[in-house]
């Protein structure tokens, strides 16, 4: 990836992380950990990859995105706001009564293609969208992001079987492999590992990457585009809480909002990262 572009994406991802902190702090609830781990991925998709138009969110031939791990909506909202789907000021209203920004994605929000949040369901909807694209001879792509804990849901594997059976090569599912879920380490709760081998066994083309490395993210999606006859799973290894020192790899930050002091420290750290990128 060209250095200027990469730096630009890194800055945007950093701003998305600030949006996550801003949103969950003001909401006094929410899921910062898994939101922070997908900021790089979402930034790449929305600013580099997807064919979308904030002026026309329902554009018929747009690429579709389903956040199957819907609890990490703060990251998606932060990226959508930066992209211009709605004012960034809205992020502060996350989870408030009367706010457009529900705790989990809602189809009525500009830029949101599917309501999600009950784990395991988003990937099925993504399969339906991909199938519709094939039926209508559209060349749009469908992207979905699953949590690594989420894939413990049986429905994910029903969908994995379906996508492979119907050769949905216009579908790319990313598994955000940060290794932690609410009750602890993935390996200790009820392990779905090895994740790559499972998707391979279900007939998917699997690509494993570092989900915080834009070069690897770009290469993975470029590779995915060349695959025909089967869906693609990108298993991205990430750090839960990425970008905020005291949240990184701490399961306690799965579903806890920062308090004032923590908010200030997190924002200071992210501001410093942004400053370093701008220098």
């Amino acid at each position: 990836m060209e250095e200027n572009l990469k730096k630009n994406l890194m800055k945007r991802a950093c701003k998305a992380r600030m949006g996550v902190i801003e949103g969950t702090y003001n909401a006094k609830s929410g899921h910062p950990g898994g939101s922070l781990s997908i900021c790089d991925l979402l930034t790449y998709l929305y600013f580099e990859k997807m064919n979308i138009n904030p002026e026309n969110p329902d554009m018929e031939d747009r690429d579709r995105f389903v956040l199957s791990k819907g609890h990490t909506a703060p990251a998606l909202y932060a990226v959508l706001a930066q992209k211009g789907f709605f004012p960034e000021e809205e992020l502060k209203s996350l989870r408030h009564i009367g706010s457009m920004l529900q705790g989990h994605p809602c189809i009525n929000i500009p830029g949101i293609d599917m309501s999600s949040g009950s784990l395991g369901q988003g990937i099925s909807a993504a399969c339906g969208m991909a199938l519709a694209g094939k039926l209508s001879n559209k060349d749009y792509k469908v992207y979905t992001v699953l949590g690594d804990g989420e894939i413990e849901e049986g429905q994910v594997w029903e969908a994995a079987m379906f996508a492979s059976h119907y050769k949905l090569d216009n579908l790319t599912a990313v598994v955000d492999y940060n290794g932690l879920q609410i009750d602890g380490k993935l390996s200790e709760v009820c392990s779905p590992e090895p994740i790559d081998k499972k998707f391979e066994a279900f007939g998917w083309h699997v690509i494993s990457i570092d989900g915080h490395d834009f070069d690897q993210i770009e290469n993975a999606f470029n590779e995915a585009e060349k695959i025909t006859g089967k869906p693609v799973a990108i298993i991205q290894k990430t750090v839960k809480g990425k970008g905020v020192s005291f949240m990184e790899n701490q399961v306690s930050w799965h579903g806890t909002a920062p308090k004032k002091e923590q908010y200030e420290q997190a924002m200071a750290e992210l501001n410093q990262q942004l400053k370093d990128l701008e220098d």
Partner: protein, 316 residues
């Protein structure tokens, strides 16, 4: 009326989907390895490129249907009522109901008349479950004529619809020439002044039969067919309560949460009168021939007559 032709509404379902495929080019059909039983195999044979078997995976099927609808298709997701409303309930609620997507759920083999397969497959709770989902429309056709029109009506309505069909061949009593289906509007099949029998699905014919016996006994029973359980035709229900002073509901479904509950909820708000509910009494079914089971569970004209006579005694 013994010379009426009998047909299962699941047959009507499969045939109608195939008949309407050319007219509605966005119509697609999903099934979960039950195409031969739900009769979507009729559609599959005629339009294989628009039929998708999801395998024995109802949760994913409902989610796929949601995605298809979000991308402009009109999917009919088909399986037995037990799995459509039961197993996949939460997916129907969150992936179809909450985003209010244009998915049509074709649930066949509803109720006790599944017969020999027994309790695990006799779904007497589907109407109750679907009623709790905001924005869900529920249609329970009484015969072939009604089912055909109901399906086309569901296609022309934008939003989620749960359609309930039966396995058992039942009399076609509606006149195909004059019958007109109107979503959300009940039909007064027979007027009466002493009591109103409000029935749905295959119990509508039984209610009509009961009304004839009652007439012979000097009881004037109004018979109302409620094909759309949600949204309920409250105006008609309240008028019946006011006109006749007592209501008997009849459904091949649990007395908890179905038509009887919907009617009782409505009349308590507009015109409180006694409501006697005939249905499955908070119990599981069991194996046996469908017609005999319906009699065992009191889902027949004879028992409706008994219940109507009891109900009339409750009138103030």
């Amino acid at each position: 009326m013994a010379d009426l032709i009998r047909k299962a509404t699941r047959e009507s379902y499969g045939e109608t989907l195939a008949n309407l495929a050319d007219k509605y080019e966005n119509l697609v059909v999903l099934d979960a390895d039950l195409a031969a039983a739900t009769k979507t195999a009729i559609f599959k044979k005629a339009y294989p490129q628009r039929f998708f078997d999801c395998g024995i995976a109802e949760a994913n099927m409902m989610g796929v249907a949601a995605g298809l609808a979000a991308a402009g298709k009109i999917p009919f997701a088909s399986t037995f009522a037990m799995f459509a409303a039961g197993r996949a309930y939460e997916i129907v609620r969150n992936s179809i109901g909450y985003p209010h997507l244009n998915v049509k759920i074709g649930a066949t083999h509803a109720g006790i008349s599944v017969g020999e397969d027994g309790a695990t497959h006799q779904c007497n709770e589907d109407i109750a479950l679907m009623r709790t989902i905001p924005g869900m429309t529920i249609i329970n056709p009484a015969d072939d004529v009604e089912a055909r029109q109901a399906i086309e009506s569901a296609i022309n309505y934008v939003g989620p619809v749960y359609m309930r069909f039966g396995r058992l061949a039942v009399p076609i009593f509606n006149d195909s020439e004059s019958y007109k289906f109107e979503l959300g509007k009940g039909i007064v099949l027979r007027d009466g002044t002493d009591v109103t029998i409000i029935a749905t699905g295959l119990m509508v014919y039984e209610a009509l039969e009961a009304s004839r016996t009652l007439a012979d006994a000097g009881i004037s029973a109004r018979v109302v067919n409620i094909h759309t359980i949600k949204p309920l035709d409250k105006e008609l229900v309240c008028k019946c309560a006011s006109d006749t002073g007592v209501i008997v509901t009849v459904e091949e479904h649990s007395i908890i949460g179905g038509l009887g509950s919907a009617v009782a909820e409505a009349v308590t708000g507009c015109c409180p009168v006694p409501v006697v509910r005939v249905g499955v009494n908070d119990e599981y079914g069991y194996s046996g021939p469908a017609v005999e089971l319906l009699k065992k569970f009191g889902l027949c004209a004879d028992n409706i007559v008994v219940k109507v006579k009891e109900a009339i005694k409750l009138k103030k």
